[in-house]
């Protein structure tokens, strides 16, 4: 991958909302060059989507609960863990699935409106899958940092004096 492709990706990873003309100016390129590059990276599925990080806790009436579930499974013959993982990640409630080394096999992040809702999903859908041996559920109590972004960072205002040598 070329250096300027990485530069572009880093820019839009930090801010998917950055306008094309600004990206062009920042990188010292033309707008059409940037557009072309983005098209290419989308086609190659390097860029998979554009999302916005929202602090739902700040939105009234919009409670949300996240659980991290440790899942032990018996891998399916011929497919290893991949088939089981797929059975799990297809559920829309599931936000992330990772194969782990250590005491359990899959780490599954599940979101729901209430603890009850998540509990229901785990007992009815997840733990009942043939290859799932056991689940251990940990509910998230508070988010401090997510995907590199510190939530509730009250401390980010500019502390510099306005004019200095």
């Amino acid at each position: 991958m070329k250096e300027f492709e990485v530069e572009l990706l880093k820019l839009i990873e930090n801010n998917a909302n950055l306008e094309l003309d600004k990206i062009a100016k920042l990188m010292g390129k033309r707008i059409d060059e940037i557009q072309e590059l983005i098209d290419k990276l989308e086609k190659k599925k390097v860029i998979l989507g554009y999302s916005t990080l929202i602090d739902w806790a700040k939105v009234l009436d919009e409670e949300e609960v996240t659980a991290m579930v440790d899942v032990k499974v018996t891998p399916a013959r011929g497919f290893g863990f991949d088939k089981v993982a797929e059975r799990i990640y297809r559920f829309p409630e599931v936000k992330a699935v990772y194969l782990m080394s250590g005491a359990y096999d899959l780490s599954v992040s599940v979101k729901g409106k209430t603890m009850m809702e998540i509990g229901h999903f785990i007992s009815e859908k997840l733990s009942t899958l043939d290859s799932v041996l056991s689940t251990t559920t940990h509910f998230v109590l508070k988010k401090y940092k997510h995907d590199g972004i510190i939530l509730e960072d009250a401390d980010e205002d500019d502390k510099r004096i306005v004019v200095s040598p």
């Binding site: 530069e7 880093k10 820019l11 950055l18 600004k22 100016k25 920042l26 990188m27 010292g28 500019d158 510099r160 004096i161 306005v162 004019v163 200095s164 040598p165």
Partner: protein
């Protein structure tokens, strides 16, 4: 009672800094977007801060050796060798100072006798002339020209030489112009410097912040190491202005002279800052590279934006300053800066505070978030359009 002034003539005679006056104006105002700041907008990388906590927790709260902790001097020496192929003995050719500011002061005081002249190249950092005067020397200023992109030319050195000339202050890349001197350009200056047997104080605090070409440290030029005091520090590239940590490297005799002054007037640089700097040199490369990439993008952004709104601005090769001409508006530097502040609440620094030839220019620092820069450019566009 009569008002006797106890202030020395030397200090009384110093001009108040033009920056100071501007600061007072801007400080009274709300929602100012400041392009007037000569320091990074980044907070010091967390691992440096954390290392300093660690040192404090373990009781490192006392003085260090006068010249700085030997571990830090060793790291500085390694850093200079890796990055600029310079070899300095950490035991007697490196001193850790309270910012590059103190290193400049120490170097000047270590070499100046009354009557000695020091060449200062302007527009430049506002501290050079006063520091030369305070050290008892006589500053002789050279004005670089806009049409030379504010690059110093060897003939200009020659013209400033008198029998009393002892030293020349160089700054590359330069504050406020962002001017970057290439190896060839430095070699031409070196020839002239050698011819007149000058000592060089080379302020390279912005050396890491260069965007287009490889950097050449002045003492790495053949024959220059023996006559150069290299001055640098952690403020800019490592985002550590408030820690007050810098250093100088040079011939052992000169460094010893600087240590002598330092031991009587300062004892040592702050201990906790020295620990943070140690971490910065050992594990700070990625952070520095990330910040440099970001400065480069903002440089591209501000330079093209300024040119679009007819504030003509050449592409500065280093530091984090753009130095556009305000000629198109028909205003002087100060008028431009003051009216811009009053009308649009954008702070820039009038170019004339950095030297006579800075008149007609303003310094815009791009050590500011893209969002802020974008807003500042919109406001400046509106301001300029009213006047053209």
């Amino acid at each position: 009672m009569s008002q006797i002034s106890y202030v020395s003539k030397k200090v009384d005679g110093l001009k108040p800094s033009g920056i100071r006056r501007f600061f007072d104006l801007a400080a009274q105002m709300e929602d100012v977007i400041s392009l007037g700041v000569g320091e990074p907008d980044f907070v010091t990388p967390w691992n440096f801060i954390e290392q300093s906590f660690h040192a404090l927790e373990h009781g490192y709260t006392s003085y260090t050796e006068n010249a700085g902790m030997i571990e830090l001097r060793k790291e500085i020496s390694t850093y200079l060798s890796k990055n600029y192929r310079l070899r300095y003995d950490p035991y007697d050719q490196v001193i850790v100072s309270v910012g590059a500011s103190q290193a400049i002061d120490l170097a000047l005081r270590a070499v100046i006798d009354p009557g000695d002249e020091v060449i200062v190249v302007e527009p430049s950092f506002v501290a050079y002339v006063p520091t030369v005067k305070l050290a008892g020397g006589t500053p002789v200023t050279i004005q670089t020209e806009a049409e030379d992109e504010f690059k110093l030319k060897p003939e200009q050195i020659e013209a400033a030489i008198t029998p009393n000339t002892k030293a020349i202050m160089l700054c590359n890349p330069n504050n406020p112009t962002g001017t970057f001197l290439s190896k060839e350009e430095l070699e031409q200056l070196a020839e002239m410097i050698e011819k007149h047997d000058l000592l060089v104080l080379s302020d390279e605090i912005y050396a890491e912040l260069t965007y287009d070409e490889d950097y050449t440290s002045f003492p790495s030029i053949t024959g220059m190491k023996e006559r150069t005091i290299l001055i640098s520090g952690f403020s800019k590239a490592f985002a550590m202005t408030g820690w007050r940590l810098g250093y100088a490297a040079g011939p052992a005799q000169l460094i010893a002279a600087m240590v002598k002054i330092h031991q009587y007037t300062m004892m040592c640089a702050p201990t906790m800052a020295q620990h943070a700097a140690l971490e910065a040199l050992k594990n700070g490369r990625q952070s520095v590279n990330d910040m440099v990439e970001s400065y480069k993008q903002r440089r591209n952004f501000i330079v093209s934006s300024l040119n679009e709104i007819r504030l003509k601005c050449p592409n500065p090769g280093g530091a984090f300053y753009a130095f556009p001409s305000v000629e198109a508006t028909g205003l002087t530097s100060s008028e431009f800066a003051e009216q811009l502040l009053q009308e649009e609440h954008v702070a820039v620094v009038p170019g004339n505070v950095f030297g006579a030839n800075g008149e007609g220019y303003i310094r815009c620092s791009y050590a500011t978030s893209i969002k802020q820069l974008d807003e500042a450019m919109k406001r400046m566009k509106r301001f300029v359009e009213k006047r053209i």
